[in-house]
């Protein structure tokens, strides 16, 4: 196996690095780029904890080859906000609704929910459940997570600004 050089836009900035053809995106993000907000729970596509956005679509980084993101846009949780002052409405809603306990599922949920709100700015409860079904949470019982997504959606609609997904996912 020969390493390959790939270039992709990560959280708004172009990065260039050499990877093996069988290297997984989750490992490149966590181990080479030290973006550890992308979480490993299972490594085999069953929990949603490692979700990142690829050109705005949620993908499981543990099932994505690094070479496949060549030339594309990747958004990880670190790309949404740097701290208290620039939180997205979804992040704020997760904090305020108590939708975060241990926090291990949080990055995956927030990114998945962001993709949902981009596709469907005003989802029903049923649509939210259906969309986030692939993301496991062992702590919250999902109630507060569904509430947080609803709240972020309704705040975005109220303020008549573009959906919360619009800004960051294009990054």
């Amino acid at each position: 196996m020969e390493p390959r050089v790939i270039r992709f836009r990560l959280n708004g900035e172009w990065v260039r690095l050499s990877v093996m053809p069988n290297e997984l995106l989750i490992n490149v993000l966590r181990e080479k780029l030290h973006l550890t907000g992308t979480k490993y729970w299972c490594g085999i596509g069953e929990c949603g904890g490692c979700t990142v956005l690829l050109d705005g679509e949620p993908v499981l980084s543990c099932l994505t080859l690094a070479v496949d993101v060549d030339g594309r846009k990747v958004t990880t949780i670190e790309g949404l906000a740097t701290g208290e002052d620039d939180l997205t409405p979804l992040q704020r809603a997760f904090i305020e609704e108590g939708a975060i306990q241990c926090g291990f599922c949080t990055p995956g949920f927030i990114l998945t929910a962001q993709a949902l709100l981009r596709e469907n700015p005003n989802p029903t409860e049923e649509e939210i459940r259906e969309y986030v079904r692939g993301n496991l949470c062992r702590c919250t019982g999902y109630v507060s997570i569904i509430r947080a997504v609803k709240r972020a959606a309704s705040e975005a609609v109220k303020s008549r600004r573009p959906g919360p997904a619009a800004g960051a996912a294009s990054g």
Partner: protein, 798 residues
């Protein structure tokens, strides 16, 4: 009691303090720790359920890997959990062993520059079986004469004890004349129960990073619920002074009891890093985690209980055979605690208990959110439901008539930890819950027809808040808090206590803010390590708020006393500190210190600054606190389910989850505990189990989450039909009236669900989980019996 209005910070909804870190992906968990120059470790796990093996690692060593075999680790027998006192601690573990007793037990370990290189080296380690034993996967088989001995002898404290018939430990207890009580009872029922063996599926797989330090010590980042006990164990196993073992506090991706004990990965990482003289990261995959060192206690229980026509319980026998797996973590204390769960639910009258913990060749058992309580509560709440039915009493009234409540002696944590109940919201929760769910109009068991059948069930439960008591029993239970006021009047709170996400440390911050009359933002919770914090036993037993919170409050009170002393000097009025008052000033966002009826006043920031500028010295306090009670937090759950009689699937339709946790310090986080507790309990009731292959003794659903089904967002009731209610109570011994919550939240769930299923289809289940397969089988069996008896009747007529 509703805290609103009475307190400024306690009971107020504010986003959790660590929310921003977690929502932005900046929270560092042990899995995220990455040190320069570190090696990666891999563990060779036994493929045998029980064997003696020879390890040959020459090839792996030739490849340049750092290798550990059983000969390379300290020859020390230990118990990875240090919560019980030494003389009640059974020791039968080694870091690595050439006599593995379950599939997955660590036999050897390697470390190399990358995980791939380590894996290649691992594959080069040869394992030769010297002797292979028949796997024992059932406690009744294991105790049969002639079964292979899983352990010949183990240590209790510092002394050897022989193991007979694979019985790890036993406990018997009785009070009153049970035989007479039962023979005089009007109704007696006897039932056998068998629980599932649940896997925690905590989000973060077990991991440790160990760095050897130049002073001969180590610094360790790991998944733990207790940095101090991990420090002590590492010190004991490796003979390093505790002052040179630094266990760092990092975020924990869920614990649920799986890291009350120090996980084996931690010790393996320390051993590898000491040999390699380099930092080593030892991370498990999900598959490995599932067979590593934690699952729940699988219990086989028998209850025989009697009641009088007047609706009073009169006697009960409780037999508890626990399948503990291949090693002891805490079965011995659990034998007592399981009895505690049993006797603290109802006033049984006379009781007789027989508890026995049995070794099998399975993954070792430990606490899983409730420490045996959900198991016992499921059995008890089924029996109680059945007794009420026999007596033709309303199950709610029957429970209220017999439950252990205010003024009663309580020993939830077992016979060595007794205290009196002082706050009790059970009647309120039962009545309000019944009303909200429409209890009176529920269907009668089994009266429905049609494909979808609905039923409503009730169950109540409790958990202790910690394990304290007036006397020092066999459990270690105290917490430290260190508080200092900075030179601008903000406060640093240094605590060893782990917050797994339940909001424990948010509660502490609120308690401190309340006591010192300062805004919450000025309380900084410091994340440090075992060397800079005062001992805390562990975050377990729902003790974080009740015990740790009280330690924080006492430290704050001590600090307050010093603040007032300094304030006297500043105010320069002829009074002592006792004449001063403190209040929070919204405009100044500061604590104002004043003398009633005078203009003299100053602020906390002024005091702090002056103390600094005038060389008066710092204001700080360090406290170590032990609770003298472990009051019960009560829960009462009403659940409506729908059973699809064609597929056997059960769906929650409505839930009213009631909790009595005293003063609610963090409303949204406490609600989250209840919701999360319910959903976790739902999984135990209908989904989760870890079956073993009878031939190989290996787990059948090795590490695959789809194989080990847990609830998803699709499995919960519509959120407006998921009600959480809190009782209006105040616990006089708790900080600002608070009690615990984490475990009480899930303890009665399986029982409530099982009772609701019974209400829907008229069938009781005595084995968990109640899967669709089991429901279908039971429905078919009933149909068959119905046909047969119809035929018999038909035959009799002709």
């Amino acid at each position: 009691m509703s805290a609103e209005g009475r307190f400024r910070f306690v009971g107020v909804r504010v986003g959790r303090k660590d929310g921003v870190l977690k929502a932005t992906g900046r929270a560092t968990y042990a899995y995220d720790v990455w040190l320069p120059g570190m090696l990666h470790g891999r563990i060779l796990k036994s493929p045998y359920a029980h064997a003696e093996v020879r390890v040959d690692a020459t090839e792996a060593e030739r490849m340049g890997a750092v290798v550990l075999t059983p000969r390379d680790v300290p020859d020390v027998l230990f118990n990875p959990r240090l919560v019980s006192v030494e003389e009640d601690t059974f020791k039968d573990w080694r870091v690595l062993t050439d006599h593995p007793r379950y599939v997955g037990e660590p036999v050897a370990a390697v470390a190399a520059a990358s995980e791939e290189a380590a894996q290649r080296a691992l594959e080069a380690v040869r394992l030769e079986p010297v002797r292979v034993y028949r796997p024992l996967l059932d406690p009744f088989e294991a105790t049969r004469p002639g079964s292979p001995a899983i352990h010949e002898r183990v240590m209790r404290g510092g002394a050897w004890v022989d193991v007979e018939d694979n019985v790890a430990c036993t406990l018997e207890y009785s009070e009153g004349d049970v035989d007479r009580a039962l023979s005089e009872a009007d109704v007696v029922i006897e039932r056998r129960f068998h629980t599932n063996r649940r896997y925690h599926l905590q989000p973060e797989p077990k991991v440790a990073v160990s760095r050897p330090d130049p002073d001969g010590g180590v610094t360790v980042w790991t998944t733990t619920q207790t940095v101090h006990n991990t420090k002590i164990l590492i010190s004991q196993v490796f003979g390093i002074p505790q002052s040179k073992v630094r266990v760092k506090k990092v975020f924990l991706g869920g614990g649920f009891g799986s890291s009350i004990h120090t996980n084996l990965v931690t010790l393996v990482a320390v051993a590898l890093s000491r040999k390699a003289r380099r930092p080593v990261r030892m991370a498990l995959t999900r598959e490995e985690d599932m067979m590593h060192d934690h699952v729940s206690f699988e219990m086989h229980m028998r209850i025989r209980a009697g009641a009088k026509r007047n609706g009073r319980l009169s006697g009960a026998e409780f037999e508890n055979v626990m399948d503990i797996g291949a090693h002891q973590i805490q079965p011995y204390p659990l034998l007592g605690t399981a009895l505690g769960w049993f006797v603290s639910l109802y006033k049984w009258g006379a009781i007789r208990y027989f508890g026995r913990a049995v070794y099998t060749n399975k993954v070792p058992s430990c606490a899983l959110r409730g420490y045996g309580n959900p198991q016992v509560t499921w059995a008890v709440e089924t029996v109680v439901d059945e007794l009420a039915e026999e007596l033709e009493m309303d199950p709610v009234e029957f429970r209220l008539k017999n439950y252990v409540g205010k003024g009663d002696l309580f020993w939830g944590q077992g016979p060595t930890v007794k205290s009196i109940i002082r706050s009790d919201g059970v009647p309120e929760l039962m009545r309000r819950g019944a009303e909200l769910i429409g209890w009176r109009n529920r269907p009668r068991p089994g009266e429905q027809t049609g494909r979808y059948r609905r039923g409503i069930g009730v169950a109540r439960g409790f958990h202790t808040s910690g394990a304290g008591g007036p006397l020092s029993g066999s459990v270690i239970d105290y917490s430290g808090a260190f508080l200092k006021v900075n030179e601008d009047g903000s406060v640093d709170y240094v605590t060893a206590l782990q917050d797994h996400g339940g909001g424990t440390l948010d509660a502490h911050a609120k308690i401190i803010a309340e006591e010192l009359c300062i805004p919450l933002e000025k309380v900084n919770v410091v994340w440090s390590d075992s060397s800079t914090t005062v001992y805390d036993v562990c975050t377990h037993a729902s003790r974080g708020v009740y015990v740790g919170g009280e330690a924080a409050r006492r430290a704050a009170r001590e600090v307050k006393r010093k603040i007032l002393e300094y304030a006297v000097r500043i105010l320069n009025v002829a009074v002592g500190p006792e004449a001063l008052r403190m209040r929070y000033d919204e405009e100044l966002k500061d604590a104002v210190i004043y003398v009633e009826g005078s203009d003299a006043q100053t602020t906390l920031s002024e005091v702090a600054r002056t103390a600094w500028q005038r060389n008066w010295g710092s204001i700080s306090a360090s406290v170590s606190f032990r609770a003298t009670a472990a009051p019960p937090s009560f829960t009462a759950y009403f659940v409506e389910v729908e059973v699809d009689t064609e597929t056997g699937r059960v769906r929650p339709v409505r839930v009213v989850a009631g909790a009595d946790i005293g003063t609610v310090i963090n409303p949204e986080l406490a609600e989250g505990q209840v919701q999360g507790g319910f959903v976790m309990g739902w999984g135990w009731a209908v989904l989760e189990d870890t079956p073993y292959n009878p031939e190989t003794g290996a787990l059948e659903n090795m590490g695959f989450i789809t194989d080990y089904k847990v609830p998803t967002a699709g499995d919960i009731p519509p959120i407006e039909d998921f009600r959480v209610i809190f009782a209006d109570t105040y616990e006089p011994t708790g900080p600002f009236g608070a009690k615990g919550i984490g475990e009480a939240a899930s303890n009665p769930v399986a029982a409530a669900v099982a009772n609701a299923i019974y209400d829907a289809i008229g069938i009781r289940f005595y084995e968990l989980p109640i899967t669709p397969e089991r429901i279908l089988r039971a429905l078919r069996e009933r149909e068959r019996q119905g046909r047969e008896s119809a035929q018999e009747r038909g035959g009799g007529l002709s």
